[in-house]
């Protein structure tokens, strides 16, 4: 077995060798992180849970092909990104039953009524509480493109480097930098009142 210091990689190597208990530990270790990532990517908790299960299903199916040449983190992020992209493409192409429109980046991680509330919270004179601020940030995040959002989420929640994000999203490092800079500009524009009010 290859020597590794990363616990997830070590578990995955055990899974590759047929250790079922290691797969269970891997699920427990990663499911909250994946649900968080996919929740903010899709905006729907149930879809996020379904996608998380799909990620683990793909991992288990591909276990025999796993090689410890790359970090397990990058590998699982790649699969998560592919799963999220597949869902969006399937929903777009076939309008599947059971796939709500919330996977669309433009349509919403939140409903229209919530959007109205969030819009009212954008007034600079209004002191928004944390819930409203959270809603506004979610709305701003939903307005990003799918790739921009995934790059931001990988950077923020998974603390990935440029190289890791590039590997996970199968892009070049300059492309990732461009994505993040454009995302930052768009988020700054959407969240301008809050950035000003939070400034010292």
């Amino acid at each position: 077995m290859e020597a590794t210091t990363d616990p997830s990689t070590a578990l995955m190597l055990l899974v590759r060798d047929g250790n079922v208990e290691a797969f269970e530990q891997l699920v427990v270790l990663w499911q909250d992180r994946l649900v968080t990532l996919l929740l903010h990517q899709t905006g729907d908790p149930s879809i996020a849970e379904d996608l998380t299960q799909e990620v683990f299903l793909r991992i288990y199916r591909a276990r025999a092909r796993y090689k410890a040449t790359a970090k397990f983190t990058t590998w699982i992020h790649t699969i998560a990104n592919n799963v999220a992209s597949d869902l969006r493409q399937r929903a777009y192409r076939r309008r599947e039953r059971g796939v709500p429109g919330s996977v669309s980046a433009s349509s919403s991680m939140i409903g229209l009524d919530q959007l109205a509330v969030a819009a009212s919270a954008l007034l600079p004179t209004r002191q928004a509480d944390r819930t409203e601020l959270q809603m506004v940030v979610q709305r701003a995040l939903a307005q990003l493109s799918e790739k921009q959002r995934m790059a931001v989420l990988l950077a923020k929640f998974e603390l990935c480097s440029y190289d890791e994000i590039a590997a996970a999203m199968q892009l070049s490092v300059p492309a990732v930098k461009s994505l993040l800079f454009r995302a930052r500009d768009q988020l700054r524009e959407s969240l301008a009142p809050y950035l000003q009010s939070n400034a010292p």
Binding site: G18, V20, F23, E24, V27, V28, Q31, D32, V35, T36, L39, H40, P45, S46, A48, E49, D50, T52, Q53, E54, F56, L57, R58, Y60, R61, A62, N82, D86, R90, G98, R130, L133, Q134, V137, Q138, L141, A151, V152, A155, K156, F157, C160, S161, Y162, I165, Q170, V173, V176, K177, L180, F181, A183, R184, L187, R188, L191, Y194, L195, N198
Partner: protein
């Protein structure tokens, strides 16, 4: 003052020299790229997965592998859209893999029943689980004293026996496994427990049920796994009775209507049950209506043929408030 401008020109040899002499400076972390909004993103909540998610994930993985079929339509899409040549290569590779897979499958699996392995009872009784719907519905049903359907005859007792057999099967499945919701259930490491030898028709039915289960969404499959788990729990006698009662009601309906009833959600199911239970509660031998109590017609069974006799007490026809036809009004509105 004239400032000399120098346009740098980098030859390939220069660039290679530069790259070999000094490595490029490390990129700042992405947090720097998101400067200004990084802290604002902290308000986004960390999700907490449901306590049974890991257990259902492992069960789903095991069940999906048992079925031997993918739950998704595209598996590992490893490259972006490219030239036609790449698509042709990909298509050829997929076709080749399919042919090899079919050949290898036929060679290694002499019997289709070998695919139907652990968790078979869940897929085997998927129709019953879909009929039960959800734990929420069964709990709501158990909380109210609904009567059994009136039209539950001996023919339907056979279905009741099948229901009991299914419950026993689910209970056997659950036996020996950890019944707490928070625990991770072990995934079957044994490769295959072949299905009980059955007739070709029964085997076909099993395979069809497995495919039905595979086609369900992940959320729906988790619901059904939870229903199966609850029905198999020895302490959930109320839920089993509720499922049995609902099964009897479904069995008492016309087969053409059953699917529509099963597709109702929890609230609609309860409303449907309210309506039909109320209808069933009416006595079969209803008293005669006021119309039939007219002594002039005699008791039921001895009524004279022909139209109802009209006498002095009979209401005038047409009623006085209805306008009569006339030359000015040849067709009065009704």
């Amino acid at each position: 003052m004239i400032t000399p401008t120098i346009t740098p020109t980098i030859t390939p040899s220069d660039s290679s020299l530069h790259s070999s002499a000094a490595p490029p400076p490390p990129s700042p972390p992405p947090a720097a790229a998101l400067e200004g909004i990084w802290e604002l993103l902290d308000v986004l909540p960390q999700a907490e997965s449901p306590p049974d998610l890991s257990a259902t994930t492992i069960e789903m993985v095991a069940l999906s592998l048992a079925g031997g079929k993918s739950t998704t339509h595209s598996f590992a899409r490893t490259w972006q859209r490219g030239s036609t040549g790449r698509w042709a290569i990909a298509a050829a590779a997929v076709m080749g893999a399919l042919v090899l897979g079919v050949l290898a499958g036929r060679a290694s699996l002499p019997s289709p029943s070998a695919r139907l392995i652990a968790f078979l009872p869940i897929a085997q009784h998927v129709d019953l689980l879909v009929e039960a719907g959800s734990v929420t519905f069964l709990q709501a049903l158990a909380a109210q004293p609904y009567p059994p359907p009136r039209q539950f005859d001996a023919f339907q007792l056979k279905g009741d026996a099948q229901f009991n057999a299914a419950m026993d099967s689910l209970r056997r499945l659950q036996a020996g496994r950890n019944s707490t919701d928070n625990a991770v259930r072990p995934m079957p490491s044994e490769p295959a427990t072949p299905a009980t030898p059955a007739t070709p028709a029964e085997r076909h039915e099993l395979e069809k049920n497995v495919e039905t289960f595979q086609r369900l969404s992940s959320t729906r499959r988790r619901e059904l796994l939870e229903v199966a788990r609850q029905l198999a729990d020895p302490q959930q006698e109320d839920l089993r009775n509720a499922a049995r009662l609902w099964h009897q009601w479904i069995a008492s309906r016309d087969p053409a209507d059953r699917r529509d009833i099963i597709e109702l959600n929890t609230q609609q199911r309860l409303e449907w049950l309210d309506r039909y239970a109320q209808r069933d509660s009416r006595p079969i031998n209803r008293p005669p209506r006021e119309f039939d109590r007219d002594p002039r017609r005699g008791p039921p069974g001895q009524r004279p043929p022909g139209p109802r006799p009209r006498g002095p007490g009979a209401p005038p026809f047409p009623p006085p408030d209805r306008p009569r036809a006339s030359v000015e009004n040849p067709a009065p509105l009704r």
